[in-house]
């Protein structure tokens, strides 16, 4: 259902025409229907909206995203998942002077976790409850708004959240809480196609921002708390036709199926609820998966439980598995591996880096999936040994019991879904880390389709010091922490790095801040009025750089005075 007022239609129409003109003026190839050359429009053009150009996003533009740093074309900013921008107008010498440029209020309750896209002056984003919107990225003024009509019986585990859109051509793509994938017209927000990925009544939902590769829209599902069987899907961007599905739990006869006890594979979870990355050079897309279900109880699912808590290298054309690496085998602590797998090239070395929820920082060879190193970047007590290949393995005493066992990291992990960043200038990997230990208890729980299924609960340890958090700068060459900035309490904000020598992040107390990328020193901050549950991004219009962050139900954009 789309809420649309007649004046919005008018505005939208106006902007379409305007951008058509701008595109023409800039010699950008566009499909323009109903070209308008009205004198009045020409007049408006002159008063300053002219720079909104809208050449369509092509697969090649996505591959070459580094060539257009003024735009933010996908969830992590680039296919490598670095969340790094070469924009440097805002830098360590002037960041102190940043000011808010605009704010847009979604008026949605709950957490606002989206990373916006910006394409040629237009910002596309989503808010809680599956609303989507397009704004003039210079002013924050809405161009269109869309609100999904959600059924009453959705089962989103952890809030009615959405993390953003993907874009290709004249469409943006949204995964919904009722487990549909839909395409919206970039000009109007109208639904172009709408397909059901899975039945939401059995516990499936989609919260991630999709990933577009070539002509395909890729999504993974949430639902690891409801005993789903996870999968990653690819849809034809033009029509919504499903091209392939990769089940993250192998079925009978497939390799890995033997890592599940009995029929536990059917309800084994392994959701894929964070956006993947892509290496065009080897034509491989990398996705990560979450916990086996039930998350706090290993009984009944003996085995490694592949491919839960894993990194998957897939052929984007076919969805075929090239290799996998499992971070946490037979997990009983909800250590989802759903953190963005960051692709980093160091000379001839092609690597994947991940700061995992289980507290280890992993460096993995991108071609083979072989583990190169696994080093704690926070407090870890669930593992005190590694197997022959260097993979950390669970300490028996850390296995949850009925009465409860204290384990670090806690159930929310040493980090969570919010993005890390890799800065090729400092050659440091930055992550928001959480220092929280919990008491993990377990009890049998019957499976019932669509009902919560995670084998009991966790409790904070009352004797512990207050939980805290930190931004940590990890040197991947040594896996040592070069600096940390302590947060008063654990943060749910991701991290952005820029060529301006800056790292941007937010905290649970509502501050959004710029840090010196080399030292972690706070150079600037702004109080947003509510905890940050999102990752920052940056873009530019008319040669002016902006940095945007969601907090509360508001999207803020900052710039130089």
């Amino acid at each position: 259902m789309k809420r649309q007022l007649s004046d919005k239609e008018l505005k939208s129409e106006f902007l379409n025409r305007l951008s058509s003109q701008a595109g023409e003026k800039h010699g950008l190839g566009m499909t323009i229907s109903g070209r308008v050359a009205a004198v009045s429009l020409a007049g408006m053009f002159c008063i300053g909206l002219a720079s909104i150009a809208s050449a369509q996003v092509t697969p090649q533009r996505l591959v070459d995203s580094a060539k257009e740093p003024q735009n933010w074309l996908m969830y992590s900013g680039d296919y490598a998942g670095r969340r790094y921008s070469t924009l440097d107008q805002i830098n360590a010498s002037n960041a102190f002077s940043l000011v808010p440029k605009w704010a847009y209020q979604t008026m949605a309750g709950g957490k606002f976790e989206a990373t916006s896209l910006v394409v040629d002056g237009v910002l596309y984003s989503t808010g809680a409850d599956d609303r989507a919107f397009a704004l003039d990225a210079r002013s924050g003024r809405p161009i269109w708004q869309y609100q999904r009509a959600l059924p009453p019986d959705i089962r989103p585990c952890c809030g009615r959240v959405n993390r953003g859109l993907a874009i290709l051509g004249d469409k943006v793509f949204l995964g919904t809480l009722d487990a549909h994938v839909i395409a919206l017209d970039t000009k109007t927000g109208n639904v172009v196609w709408d397909v059901e990925a899975a039945a939401h009544t059995t516990g499936y939902s989609i919260t991630l921002a999709p990933l577009v590769i070539k002509s395909l829209v890729m999504v993974g599902v949430s639902g690891g708390e409801y005993g789903i069987r996870g999968f990653i899907d690819a849809y034809d961007a033009a029509t919504g036709t499903r091209k392939w599905r990769f089940y993250t739990i192998p079925g009978p006869g497939e390799p890995g199926h033997e890592t599940w006890e009995g029929d536990s594979w059917k309800i084994g979870g392994a959701p894929a609820w964070i956006t993947g990355t892509f290496d065009p050079a080897t034509d491989t897309t990398f996705w990560t998966t979450g916990n086996p279900a039930p998350s706090n109880r290993g009984e009944g699912r003996a085995g490694d439980n592949l491919y839960s808590n894993s990194l998957l290298a897939l052929d984007p054309e076919t969805g075929k598995l090239k290799w996998h690496f499992q971070f946490t085998k037979h997990d009983e602590h909800d250590y989802d591996a759903t953190q963005v797998p960051v692709l980093v090239d160091e000379g001839d070395r092609h690597l994947i880096m991940q700061a995992n929820r289980n507290g280890f920082f992993y460096v993995i060879d991108r071609a083979s999936g072989k583990l190169l190193s696994a080093t704690p970047y926070g407090r870890v007590t669930w593992s005190n040994s590694k197997d022959a290949s260097g993979v950390p393995i669970e300490r028996k005493e850390a296995s949850p019991t009925l009465a409860g066992v204290p384990v670090c990291p806690g159930a929310l992990g040493a980090t969570n879904w919010f993005s890390p960043t890799y800065d090729p200038q400092t050659k440091l990997f930055y992550v928001s880390a959480r220092e929280q230990c919990d008491i993990f208890s377990t009890a049998p729980q019957p499976y019932e389709a669509g009902h919560a299924f995670y084998g009991s609960a966790y409790f904070p340890n009352d004797d512990a010091q207050p939980f805290w958090g930190a931004v940590r700068a990890i040197d991947p060459a040594t896996s040592q922490i070069k600096w940390e900035l302590k947060h008063i309490s654990p943060s749910w904000s991701g991290v952005l790095s820029t060529a301006g020598g800056l790292v941007f992040t937010g905290d649970a107390e509502g501050n959004f801040m710029a840090l010196d990328a080399a030292t972690g020193k706070i150079l600037w901050h702004f109080q947003c009025g509510a905890s940050v549950y999102a990752s920052p991004m940056t873009y530019a219009i008319d040669g002016k750089q902006y940095v945007a962050i969601a907090a509360g139900s508001t999207l803020f954009a900052f710039g130089l005075p």
């Binding site: 309750g109 709950g110 959600l150 059924p151 009453p152 959705i154 089962r155 989103p156 585990c157 952890c158 809030g159 009615r160 959240v161 919260t207 949430s222 708390e225 609820w273 979450g290 706090n296 909800d334 989802d336 159930a411 929310l412 992990g413 969570n416 879904w417 208890s441 009890a443 049998p444 729980q445 019957p446 009902h451 919560a452 995670y454 009991s456 609960a457 966790y458 409790f459 904070p460 009352d462 004797d463 207050p466 939980f467 947060h487 008063i488 309490s489 654990p490 749910w492 905290d507 649970a508 107390e509 509502g510 501050n511 706070i522 901050h525 109080q527 509510a530 905890s531 549950y533 509360g552």
Partner: protein, 293 residues
């Protein structure tokens, strides 16, 4: 990921979890999406069914025990549910409180996006059945002399110097008007005998995962003035505190000469010498009687 703890607005994506302040929003959303509020349903379809109570226990561990403790005897956050409940003890009232949350308290709605993964109506009735089954087994409350407790509170024990009850008393410590209803007896005893073990919770911001605690603080201002008191709130850059004279002090941390926080309660330890076991019981009886009103 598990749902975040029920406090966090998020829980999980893991756990994450949930925000009370957004309680109002959630309730609003729930109404929006559900159309008809379901608490109109008055009758527990499973009343007295022991098997259902067992299922309810699973649900309780998943969704409620984080605050109310395993066995529903109250944790450090939520009330003991084996006692009479301040917001209603009938099946329908308990169902309503779980389904929609309790406005003005930390109790969130169990609808989608509320507590943990959310509960269906059926699951809520299971929990109601479980809670009612505990009530039957709960031992009689050990009751002290509430009238004497009130005298102690306002007199010899000195509680009212720092704590308010029903609008009267000091402001340095938390208002205790409803603490008797919202905390377990064990918690109250511990708060008196060993106040620093678990600090009381202060301001709870809508989207913030963890509430501010009653941390003790000492500062030296730019002009050399020394102040001590309790933290009302703080972030990376600022401090809001109440000094021992109950004066509100607001600081930018960068402008302070020194700032020292102690994870120790400003409240004195009430050991047996200061407060006998009998007086302790009387004091708790007063808190619980007043809180139940």
């Amino acid at each position: 990921m598990l749902p975040a703890n029920p406090y966090t607005p998020t829980l999980r994506h893991s756990l994450n979890v949930f925000c009370i302040s957004s309680l109002a929003c959630l309730v609003f959303l729930a109404c929006l999406s559900m159309g008809q509020p379901l608490f109109a349903q008055e009758k527990n379809p499973y009343a007295g069914d022991a098997k259902i109570a067992k299922l309810g226990e699973y649900q309780f561990r998943l969704n409620c025990a984080f605050c109310h403790g395993l066995g529903a005897h109250g944790g450090g956050r939520g009330p003991d549910l084996t006692r009479a409940k301040r917001h209603g003890s009938s099946d329908a009232e308990i169902f309503h409180n779980i389904h929609d949350g309790i406005a003005g308290t930390a109790m969130p709605a169990a609808t989608n996006g509320g507590i943990g993964v959310g509960m269906s109506d059926e699951e809520i009735w299971q929990v109601v059945t479980y809670i009612r089954s505990l009530e039957v087994k709960a031992p009689a409350q050990p009751m002290g002399n509430a009238a004497h407790g009130k005298e102690l509170f306002n007199g010899a024990a000195g509680c009212s110097t720092c704590h308010m009850m029903e609008g009267k008393g000091g402001r340095l410590g938390p208002d205790l008007t409803s603490v008797g209803a919202s905390r377990s007896t064990e918690y109250l005893v511990e708060s008196l005998r060993n106040p620093s073990r678990r600090l009381a919770q202060g301001i709870f911001e809508a989207m913030k995962e963890f509430p501010q605690e009653y941390v003790s603080v000492s500062v030296m201002t730019a002009d050399g003035t020394k102040l001590s008191g309790v933290v009302l709130n703080e972030d990376q850059f600022t401090l809001q505190m109440l000094d021992t004279q109950e004066q509100l002090r607001l600081f930018e941390k960068s402008k302070l000469r020194s700032l020292e926080k102690k994870r120790e309660s400003a409240m004195p330890v009430y050991d047996q010498k200061t407060l006998s076991d009998k007086d302790l019981q009387d004091l708790i009886a007063y808190l619980q009687t007043a809180g139940a009103q």
